[in-house]
Amino acid sequence: MAGASIGDNEENPVAINVTAMVDVIFCLCVFFMCSLHFRQLEGKFDTWLPKGKGTGGVGDSVIQEIRVAVYWDEPNARVVRQLGNRMIANDEELQALIQEAHDDFVKLNKPDTPVTIDADARVPWSEVINIVNICKRDQIDKIEFAMGVGPPQ
């Protein structure tokens, strides 16, 4: 049937049977349709590791920072966040406290004081990114990652 589709037999005596080709194209189309996946819209947080600082200790100098500690509470299978000695209940509270602490450092003429995220190695990555996101909302760009802490006493 498909062979007759290429014009009139009288005009074109050599009929080409395109059925097989159509079948193959259908199969290819189905294959590529099934393999197509829509990529998630991705963004990036630009980060620069300190060149001269490395991953060594901070020495005996007085640490001036806004430190957010994030622990993994194994028995309750949940994340515990702490700013200074204060336990944080939700994101809004954390954002307000970081903003407040940052404003205090700005008043002391130290606007570059970093927010240090001190997270347990078991903490899910999303919790760390959430804190980075909160800092970005507060227009704080100087964020540092500490090398992990033990559980709270």
Binding site: A4, S35, K44, S126, M147
Partner: protein
């Protein structure tokens, strides 16, 4: 008087497949071009979402060398299943988490050599006065699953710092625009 028979027109009813073939070719072309046939740099990970994330530029900076490091949970297969991860719970079995660079699998212990090789492959020409050594011009993009243990990301940051890679990007899912 005999009735005349109406003249019969011999009609050749054929199905013209040419437009359909044209459309099929176009569809095929579309799916072929949109298919990702290149070496897979991006593993399937559920990225953590962040509303402050900067949208990734469409085109790479000319001459900039990048390495994408994926941290992802081992996918389910005929021989492997993880009920915890499958049900959205936190899996903390270290053997279930993999680090992928250009489709090759690494563990937090074996990735160190790979990062060193990547760093050494694109060292800057000049010694950095701040660091006192030649830094690497390579940019590392960390794409970690939202459930990935932070310890694995920490190790990658540590190795990058150790081998002079200072340009790091952290991937997150941008919220969908309404």
């Amino acid at each position: 008087m005999s009735r005349r028979k109406p003249p019969t027109v011999k009609e050749d009813v054929t199905c013209n497949l040419i437009p359909m073939i044209d459309i099929m070719f176009l569809l095929l072309l579309f799916f072929m071009l949109s298919a990702d046939m290149t070496q897979r740099e991006f593993e399937d990970v559920v990225l953590p979402s962040a509303d402050q994330v900067q949208e990734a530029p469409k085109d790479k900076t000319v001459g900039e060398e990048t390495t994408t490091i994926n941290i992802y949970h081992r996918p389910d297969s005929a021989t492997f299943t993880c009920p915890l991860y499958a049900h959205g719970s936190l899996c903390r079995d270290p053997s279930h988490w993999l680090i992928g660079v250009r489709s090759a699998e690494y563990t937090p212990d074996t990735i160190r050599d790979q990062i060193r090789n990547e760093a050494e492959a694109s060292l800057e020409a000049e010694v950095d006065p701040e660091a006192g050594k030649r830094m690497s011009a390579r940019k590392v993009i960390i794409r970690a699953d939202h459930m990935a243990p932070y310890g694995d990301v920490q190790k990658i940051l540590q190795y990058c710092g150790e081998f002079g890679i200072y340009k790091i990007e952290v991937a997150a899912a941008a919220p969908t625009k309404a």
